[in-house]
């Protein structure tokens, strides 16, 4: 008697849509309608099985009117720095250069290089130094920034940075194998980025 309860309950939800823009991208569907129709033709008395699509959270709808704020999720392996925080802009250190992300940014995946992430909210700017990571910008103005290590810029010790820079520049000059050269180069890059974060 209650076998069709789930489908009957679901129907009013699907029907009740508020008035949307015609250019809106709707949310991704929760079930594959062609599969469901084909199933019903073959065995109309049995409910169609749920496909993996039904268990996933669907891609949320992308409205055409630009949202006014960017929602930022900034996570580290051991902590969640910012969780669904509404900001005006973030500037991320992508490998292709400092990239500013505003609400309504095109959906992008960018790899990050060691550098400074700045979060702009009204007149406040919070800066973090990121070791490396990725940023995923979604079409609905949600940005997910993931990094392995991120520290507020005032926690960096300038002397250690200088020492490290000298040490790795020396290693780069004396490196023999490709791997040693690569490691020394990484050291030089990271320390120079730390240096510019302190001075910039």
């Amino acid at each position: 008697m209650f076998r069709r309860a789930t489908t009957l309950l679901r129907r009013p939800l699907m029907g009740a849509t508020s008035r949307r823009f015609s250019t809106d991208l709707p949310a991704a569907p929760v079930e594959d309608s062609t599969f469901v129709e084909a199933w019903k033709k073959v065995s109309p008395n049995v409910d169609p099985p749920k496909t993996p699509l039904a268990y996933m959270k669907p891609r949320p709808a992308t409205p055409t009117s630009l949202p006014s704020k960017l929602t930022v999720n900034f996570v580290l392996p051991y902590a969640s720095e910012l969780s669904a925080k509404e900001v005006d802009m973030v500037i991320v250190p992508a490998t292709t250069g400092q990239m500013g992300v505003l609400p309504g940014h095109v959906a992008t995946i960018a790899e990050l290089k060691p550098g400074v992430l700045s979060v702009h909210e009204g007149n406040d700017v919070t800066k973090y130094f990121i070791s490396s990571g990725f940023v995923f910008i979604h079409a609905n103005s949600v940005a997910d920034i993931i990094a392995v290590e991120a520290v507020p810029v005032d926690r960096i010790d300038a002397n250690l940075v200088q020492k490290g820079l000298q040490e790795f520049t020396q290693k780069l000059n004396s490196a023999t194998t490709d791997l040693e050269k690569a490691e020394a180069q990484i050291g030089v890059d990271v320390h120079s980025a730390l240096n510019s974060a302190l001075t910039g």
Binding site: Y78, T95, T96, A110, E111, P114, F129, S131, S132, G133, V148, E149, V151, R155, I156, D157, L160, V161, G164, D178, L179, K181, A182, E183, Q185, I186, G187, V190, H191, L194
Partner: protein
């Protein structure tokens, strides 16, 4: 990002994977922190595990590894 089919980043060309690169960068950053934060960061990232191979259904003597960022 890198041009289509273009040059791989220098660490990839030298045979390093992205995870290795990323971990090296993170360790270097951790080593450049000011004092209380540096000690916290290093202790946070220490790992300690014991590994034993199994031969003929029996475990051999385990090797215990307790390392920080150095390896």
């Amino acid at each position: 990002m890198a041009s289509a089919g273009g040059a791989a980043p220098f660490w990839r060309a030298a045979g390093m994977t992205y995870i290795t690169y990323s971990n090296i960068c993170a360790n270097l950053v951790r080593n450049c922190l000011k004092e209380p934060f540096k000690a916290e960061a290093i202790s946070r990232e220490k790992v300690h595990f014991s590994l034993s191979k199994w031969v003929d259904g029996k475990p051999e003597k385990p090797t215990v590894r307790s390392e920080g960022a150095d390896h």
